[in-house]
């Protein structure tokens, strides 16, 4: 059960990052010259 809960919370984390926190410039900013 613990794994299911972990997966669920992980999925929530992914939603928050993907839809709210991610900025298109992130990938560019992190790319070394």
């Amino acid at each position: 059960m613990i794994w299911v809960n972990m997966a669920g919370l992980g999925f929530i984390g992914f939603i928050v990052w993907w839809f709210w926190l991610y900025k298109p410039s992130d990938s560019v900013a992190n790319t070394p010259d």
Partner: protein
Amino acid sequence: MKSVDARSESASLSHSNPSHTDHTLHQELLIEGAGCASCVGKIESALQQVSGVMAAEMNFAQRTVSVYGPVDSDKLVKAVAGAGYTATLNNAQSDAEAIAEKEQADAAYYRRLMREVAAALLLGVPLMLYGLVADMSINNGVERTAWLLLGLLTLAVMVYSGKHFYLGAWQSFKNHSANMDTLIALGTGTAWLYSMVVVLLPGVFPEMARHLYFEATAMIIGLVNLGLALELKARGRTSEAIKRLMGLQPKTARVVRGDQEQDVAIEAVLRDDIVRVRPGEKIPVDGEVVAGSSSVDESMLTGEPMPVSKTEGDEVAAGTINKTGSILFKATRVGKDTALAHIIDMVKRAQNSKPPIGRLADTISAYFVPAVMIIAVLSALAWLNFGPQPSVAFAIVSATTVLIIACPCALGLATPMSVMVGIGKAAEAGVLIRNGEALQSAAKMTTMVLDKTGTITLGAPKVTDILVNQGYDKNTILSLAAALEAGSEHPLAVAIIESAKEQGLAIATASNFNAITGHGVEAEVDGLQLLFGNEALMRSRAIDLGDFVTKAQQLAAEAKTPMYFAVDRQLAAVIAVADPIKHDSIAAIARLKENGLRVIMLTGDNRATAKAVADSVGIKEFIAEVQPEDKAARVQQLQRQGEVVGMTGDGINDAPALALANVGFAIGTGTDVAIESADITLMRGSLHGLADAIAISKATLGNIKQNLWGAFVYNAAGIPFAAGVFYPVFGLLLNPVIAGAAMAFSSVTVVTNANRLRLFKSEKH
């Protein structure tokens, strides 16, 4: 603001010269597959990234995008395809053709949606009915094979009827955004995937949890598509106002070329063509009468019910009806340059625009969809951890239902639907609202500032009183005065000449004319020595004025300008000229006050005249002797006091004030400059248009709020129910199929509520 200017500039460019190069400046694309308001931003930004595009503006309610800039249309279609939608270029040459093409495309889309609905429901309904009488679970090998086939059939339905949801969801996921498609795809996808796992690997779940939800998948796809189809039908009705405006223009015109008169298609009429219009016919293009006279019904353009008489030199406008006589006129503006075409274009653009309240809905939905996804996961986890057996089934049902019920498509429709209907309705009443922002501000106005000349009054002085001395009659006096003034272009002189002409009086020729600057004029007519001017002039010539001085003072107190008229050194009459108050200004101003507005009159005129006019129309606050630039300062001053100010003027000397006011109302005749410069244009000169505009704006804003409230509360309230909050106490858990039906119903409700606005009637006056 800048982008709007750029757009109007480019739009007018394409109007002024419809050549090939200009055509590429403004292109219209028809969009398919845009299900939710969040698609608007995606499509617009995809188009804006194409190099050369100056602006892209989508009308969500019409599913069209206007693209401005010199760009190849193929690139635009590709850009839209890249964002996950289908675009076709609208090749129509005229607005009527554009609407016809759009209607054809809509009809085809409707038929396709209905086929998809039929396919989905054909599978979903029998399955659902079976579920009512039997157990939707697997008890033996035969059942397993049967369910496997049904699962594959459901997959076929998902591909055939629902692929636009899955593609849309994938496209928006790639763009880090989520919309209605995301929720439907996740909801139906979860239900189907779970059921397939039960079929293929039943051992994974406890026996109680081996329930199948294929019917939910098929039904949800069917019902949501049905909602889209019904919405498409209702949306067609919102463009009725535009269609009615376009229906005003006749299809052909009778053009005189050489000795021949021939009927030609309206598109073939050129500038400077001579066009004949017989009684009862519509005027096909804008022009100037060159022969004949008639009365013309301009009510469809201005809302003004009285026919206007037209004779040589008068302008006629396309779409108006020639009533009595046959006229010949020279075409001055044809095609997309006519006043009617400009009005249609402006209404279309306004219907595209979004009031600030609509942007609120966009912001909400950007946060709403991911939030719903989180709630769905939390709800599933809660059921798994704390729910009764079969907890896995409960978890799947609650997550699916949350995703489906919370779908915010009604939220996205709420604003554009009402704006389209409201602005169209206003146009029918002769009120042109430039954009959604003006609509919202008009509903919130607290103060209305009215210019006097040309707004409250007619703006053209007229002879109001002729007080004659013994031995004279009015007609003789008027005829002599007109003869005396015949050479002058002074507004007062023009008023007297007009008045004599209206009475059908003969105007003799004057000789020995002498203008006495600042005082009046003198001349000889038919051997009579005439003197016309103010009191000082009369006194300087030792003319006895008797008790006429008191009478003249009374006239002055009524905001009239009295002048003395002497014949052979004897006072013959006092003629008063005034700018008369429009016949319905008093009633219209009373309506504004009933609306709770503070009404203020501004004028450049002197205090006495201003007071007289203000008193007679029932305005308590007035500011006199104001220069045009000070008018703007006064508006600003009121705004600093916290007032939301509407300014009404004739659009030329009031321009700075109109621009500064929260809402600028121009009194226009439905042509050129005034329309371009104001937020709201009253096509008819009457101030009743102000009260109408406010009433329509309030009704529209109210309608938007009902829609937003309805859509949002509906979505938000459904979530706890769907998540199973009421289950522990009442044993209630929402079925995903019911959620799908309710969701489709909510969109239909919003569209229907917006269409309710069409029943709005402005007060009779």
